[in-house]
């Protein structure tokens, strides 16, 4: 298990295109990946499910924790944090 925390910085939040990109990136790893809304102290949800991710309503400014478990867990978390921090090119 490996995890990191970050903040959603892009304006649109993890919705629409950014959410799709996030899920697609998560799916490129074999590790199980989850996302947790730290602001709401929510439960960790499957980062490879677009509907689950959208359901979390992770708008701009939300603090999140990305965690992964599996062979490529470190690579997965680092890549996803980097993607979120990049602001999805907005």
């Amino acid at each position: 298990m490996y995890s990191k925390q970050t903040t959603v910085v892009n304006k649109a939040g993890l919705h629409a295109r950014p959410a799709s990109e996030f899920v697609m990136k998560a799916k490129s790893f074999t590790a199980d990946v989850t996302v947790r809304n730290m602001d709401k102290n929510g439960a960790a949800v499957n980062a490879k499910s677009i509907v689950r991710l959208l359901g979390e309503g992770l708008g701009t400014g939300t603090k999140i924790e990305i965690a992964a478990e599996g062979a490529d867990e470190k690579a997965a978390v680092d890549a996803l944090v980097a993607l979120v921090d990049s602001g999805f090119g907005e």
Partner: protein, 568 residues
């Protein structure tokens, strides 16, 4: 309630609404016997595969058509492949013996509920995507195809957001008695089709698919552009009377159909027909020539680039059906709103100002010359002339003519027969070519005025956009003057000019056009009788006086008022 739109095809229809919309399915709770889990899991897997194949096909054809909405369907594929939805459905089937439709419905409902709670517009939009994917899965699970208009069980008034060329291509004319759409103006594809089929139509009715309920009885007035929901008995009586009057008027015009067209003073006018590709002998009734043979339909109705032989046979059939009437074949005019599935074109920000018609053909010499060879060969079967659409300069005219020379040389090399003196002409539909009509007349054998595009480009109005349809003014003094100048210049050079745009088939314009000097009017077969009747009401002198007056009126409304007073 009364809905208002553009009455683009006259006549009255009273009938049931057929909402041409996504599949609707009511799911009820249901389970199966233990032990059959594998069978139902397989059904779920198959439904996903089938739905995905449909979506991929939609994306493929939309992308080929340059439609940027294709990304909506990419999002649908994402939902279809969602792990959590799959898990919920699979668990319900495997552990609770839920029938697949019930399992799908429950799984999607769970997420629809989750997302509906979000105070975010973007997420709310995704709820619509979830519903859409659910409907698609439930439909393919039932083995049903997507709805289309080819298999209707009774006569209906079709209500849709829009009708695409592919919808109208398969539409069953005997069942569709009226058309209502949310988008589209008088010269949209749907409108031209509706008039051609004489189906009363009201287009550009905002929210029509929400306000009109499937199966309810409505009255549609295609002449004034009204749709009445929940009509009273009085309404029904009134409109049945209007319908009878309209049909009687049609019958009166019908008498004119078989007469030669002439003004009251005896001045002869030639009447042409505008045809799509598949001609039948009835298409030619009451006409003297074929002013426009659109060749796009041959390409659009095919899943591959039509071969020279296929085109040759289609063109030859038209020439034969025309029985000696000269046929004006317009070369391929795609791009703009017309796209081909097998010819992906890059998306353009302004397709109507982009690479369409000859501009595209010049870049695809094989395609262009294949069509030209087919057309040339058909000219051996009877009188045929070739016309180039969307030329904007003398350069374009000369380039197109050079292609014809190349095609001729290729046929000569093969020893094929064709009319060595085939006449070549152009559509006048871009203001830049209208402005130099005198120079054009020297380069070509004939021209035809395409008023739809000419008006669109002259007035800078997208004719597909209902929001600005008021700006699309085919009776504007500006267009009248331009048309007058084109005719004058061609007359001065002794070259033939006709008109094949919608204006030529508009009875209100008949006196004006005859007065401007037009002697060849080409229109859809359904307009012929009405225009002949209108022409018969005036002498040449009256028409000339009317045209002279109209040219000096200031606004379109003044032109309308003036023309209405002429009829009295």
């Amino acid at each position: 309630m009364q809905l208002k739109g553009n009455g683009v095809s006259g006549g009255i229809a009273l009938g049931k609404v057929y909402l041409y919309k996504a599949f609707q399915c009511n799911v009820t709770a249901g389970t199966f016997k233990q032990g059959e889990e594998q069978h139902y899991l397989q059904q779920w897997a198959d439904a996903k595969t089938a739905a995905q194949a449909e979506l991929e096909e939609i994306i493929r054809s939309m992308t080929a058509a340059g439609n940027d909405k294709a990304k909506i369907f990419t999002a649908h594929i994402e939902i279809l492949q969602d792990e959590e939805i799959d898990e919920l459905v699979t668990n319900a089937i495997r552990d609770k013996q839920s029938l697949p439709d019930w399992a799908i419905d429950c799984a999607f409902n769970e997420f629809i509920e989750l997302l509906s709670g979000a105070n975010d517009l973007l997420i709310a939009e995704r709820v619509a995507d979830l519903r859409d994917v659910r409907a698609r899965l439930l439909r393919v699970l039932k083995g049903e195809k997507e709805k289309n208009l080819s298999q209707l069980s009774e006569q209906v008034i079709v209500v849709a957001r829009d009708l695409l060329p592919s919808d109208t291509a398969t539409l069953d004319r005997s069942k569709v008695i009226g058309i209502v759409t949310e988008v589209g103006g008088a010269t949209s594809h749907s409108a031209i089709l509706a008039r051609g089929y004489r189906i009363p139509a009201v287009l550009g009715v905002p929210g029509a698919t929400d306000s009109l309920q499937d199966g309810t009885f409505v009255v549609l007035d295609g002449t004034s552009g009204l749709v009445l929901t929940e009509p009273t008995d009085d309404d029904v009586t009134t409109y049945k009377k209007k319908q009878a009057d309209y049909l009687a008027q049609l019958a009166a015009e019908e008498e004119f159909l078989h007469k030669d067209a002439a003004l009251r003073c005896g001045q002869r006018i030639k009447i042409g027909v505008n045809l799509g590709n598949k001609s039948t002998p009835e298409n030619f009734v009451g006409s003297d020539f074929v002013g426009l043979l659109r060749t796009e339909f041959l390409y659009m109705g095919s899943d591959h680039m039509p071969t020279e032989q296929e085109q040759y046979e289609a063109y030859k059939l038209v020439v034969e059906h025309a029985e000696g009437r000269p046929v004006t074949l317009r070369t391929l005019d795609v791009g703009g709103d017309k796209t081909l599935s097998y010819l992906p074109l890059p998306k353009e920000d302004n397709p109507f100002l982009g690479k369409r018609a000859v501009r595209l053909c010049f870049e695809l010499p094989d395609l262009f010359k294949t069509q030209l060879r087919a057309a040339l060969r058909a000219s051996a079967a009877g009188p045929l002339q070739i016309m180039f659409p969307m030329v904007g300069s003398i350069d374009d005219v000369r380039r197109a003519k050079a292609f014809v020379e190349e095609a001729k040389a290729e046929l000569d090399a093969r020893g094929e027969a064709y009319d060595k003196h085939i006449r070549l002409g152009v559509m006048i539909e871009i203001p830049s070519i209208a402005a130099i009509a005198d120079l054009v007349a020297k380069e070509v054998d004939f021209a035809s005025i395409g008023t739809n595009d000419l008006c669109q480009y002259l007035c800078a109005v997208d004719r597909m956009n209902p929001d600005i349809s008021d700006y699309y003014q085919t009776f504007s003094p500006a267009l009248i003057r331009v048309i007058g100048q084109i005719i004058e210049q061609f007359d001065a050079q002794g070259k033939e000019v006709s008109m094949c745009g919608e204006l030529a088939g508009d009875a209100r314009a008949a006196i004006l056009l005859a007065g401007l000097g037009l002697r060849k009017f080409s229109m859809s077969p359904s307009s012929i009788a009405c225009v002949k009747q209108a022409l018969s009401r005036f002498t040449l002198q009256e028409a000339q006086q009317a045209a002279a007056t109209a040219k000096n009126l200031a606004t379109q409304q003044e032109v309308f008022d003036f023309l209405a007073s002429c009829g009295k």
